[in-house]
Amino acid sequence: MSVIEFENASYSYTGGELLSDVSLSVSTGSFYFITGPSGSGKTTFLKMCYGALVPNSGHVHLFDHDLRQMTRDEVAHASRKIGVILLDCQFLDHMSVTENIALPLAVSGEDRLSDNMNLKELLSWVGLIGRADALPPELSGGERQRAALARAVIMSPDIILADEPTGNVDWEMSQRLLQLLIELNKMGKTVLLASHDLSLIRLAKSQVQARVLRIANKRIQLAGANL
């Protein structure tokens, strides 16, 4: 069953076409790497995956709903099933790490912080239990990425989208973040990870059955064995 489906989708901006005629079906529980040179359209592709951008032509289906037919509120509702981690992960700087991580629960109107145990487990899982009351500006780059990961998974989403999550962290932290994403994939979550770090992709392929998509010349294609 596919959770995201691209059907001849193209996206262009005032500067010109960024992605052209993309067709792809992302099935439940799969692990995809999206790679390509800087500016090739990886972020644009991911933004269409969570409804932040709508294709100019063709179709993108989120959970079997055509993105172009969905209202903003419907997209927002659907995106609750998608956890997003961005390179410049943003937080509400006046709220603590714990509050930021729990924010998706509050926004969705689900059980507020009543289930403290789960939140503590989550903080512990990403190694931020000691930084629970810190404010986001006090966190290091790696801690911010892990906080973003915790916020992305707190709603137990079906899909995790990560756009260069290891871009601002050292190799050790990159490996740690990758391990967390692999764990999520093994729990049945679909993971799409955009990265230009080929060594990270090689490392992941040794542990999980991942497909690598390469974006070049505005088109997306399945990369071969040679990365």
Binding site: A52, R72, H77, R80, Q90, L92, D93, A106, R112, M155
Partner: protein, 301 residues
């Protein structure tokens, strides 16, 4: 209907978590509060002006509408005869409840403020005045004038219409001016609060971006701003309105001798009008912020 009810309850009760997503500081907070306070202060005076004008209009309309004056000017030997004739005519005119000759003492008290107490009014050829009170059906002025011309040539009937009408018109215009001022103040408040709300949303673009990323719907995002602006406007208007009320109260007390201004203020239950000022400002802020939040969020998509 249910959605409106839920919105209203949500607005009043709030949501602790949602209320915290927008940082509480920023110049827009003081701008909104100050604007609402200033406009509420001015609105109190506009309401006072409107109510005073309305009272004056009612007073002039009611107290003068049912009364008129008959003035008889004639040579001294004829004046009593004409007065008696006029009284006979008035007594038999349908629509007149009573007619009473104004005594010399009453005339003296009317003229003294202009001529002083030393003037010998007894020796002056003053015209005779008859105060006429109409009954509820009123009299036919045209017909009465014709009868008076025929029988009492020195009589002039003044039904006060000539000078009452412009006074009442002026009072109505003052009332309308007060109401227009209130509308203008509400519109100005809405414009300033709209600008403040837009500035707040621009300043909090990161907050909106984060909320969108985690699946917040427009309603949630706008409510975080709307509630804050509504309560800032309400609180500011409460302060400004209370201050305006205190000033009007003391203003009333100190202007006893300025007859034209003594009416400017509130009487009895009229003070209750001030209760509507803060909620009105809150409603203006709610509509202005909700509308601008909607436009900003649509623009960001």
């Amino acid at each position: 209907m249910t959605a409106i009810y839920n919105n209203l309850i949500g607005l009043i009760l709030g949501d602790r978590q949602r209320d915290r997503v927008v940082p509480p500081t920023g110049y827009t907070a003081s701008l909104t509060t100050f604007t609402s306070a200033a406009m509420a202060f001015l609105a109190v005076f506009a309401i006072a002006l409107s109510l005073a004008a309305s009272r004056l209009s009612d007073h002039w309309s009611e107290s003068l509408a049912r009364s008129s004056t008959l003035r008889i000017s004639a040579p001294a030997p004829q004046i009593q005869q004409q007065l008696d004739l006029a009284m006979e005519i008035l007594d038999t005119t349908p629509g007149i409840a009573s007619a009473r000759v104004i005594s010399l003492e009453e005339q003296r008290s009317l003229l003294e403020p202009w001529f002083g107490p030393e003037v010998p009014f007894e020796s002056l050829p003053l015209p005779k005045l008859i105060d006429i009170e109409e009954n509820s059906s009123g009299y036919d002025g045209q017909s009465l004038r014709l009868r008076l011309i025929a029988d009492v040539p020195g009589a002039v009937l003044d039904d006060h219409t000539r000078w009452r009408r412009p006074l009442v018109t002026a009072a109505h215009r003052l009332w309308a001016l007060g109401m227009f001022s209130i509308v203008l103040m509400a519109a100005t408040s809405a414009a300033i609060i709209t600008l403040a709300a837009r500035a707040a949303m621009s300043a909090n673009a990161q907050v909106i971006s984060v909320l969108r990323l985690i699946g917040a719907q427009d309603n949630y995002i706008s409510a975080a701003f709307v509630r804050r602006f509504t309560f800032r406007a309400f609180n500011g208007a409460s302060l400004g309105g209370a201050f305006g009320a205190v000033v009007v109260y003391f203003f009333q007390g100190q202007t006893d001798q300025l007859s034209i201004l003594t009416g400017l203020g509130f009487q009895g239950t009229e003070w209750l009008w001030l209760i509507i000022v803060p909620p009105l400002m809150g409603i203006v802020a709610y509509i202005a912020t909700r509308r601008s939040a909607g436009l900003v969020l649509r623009g960001l998509s």
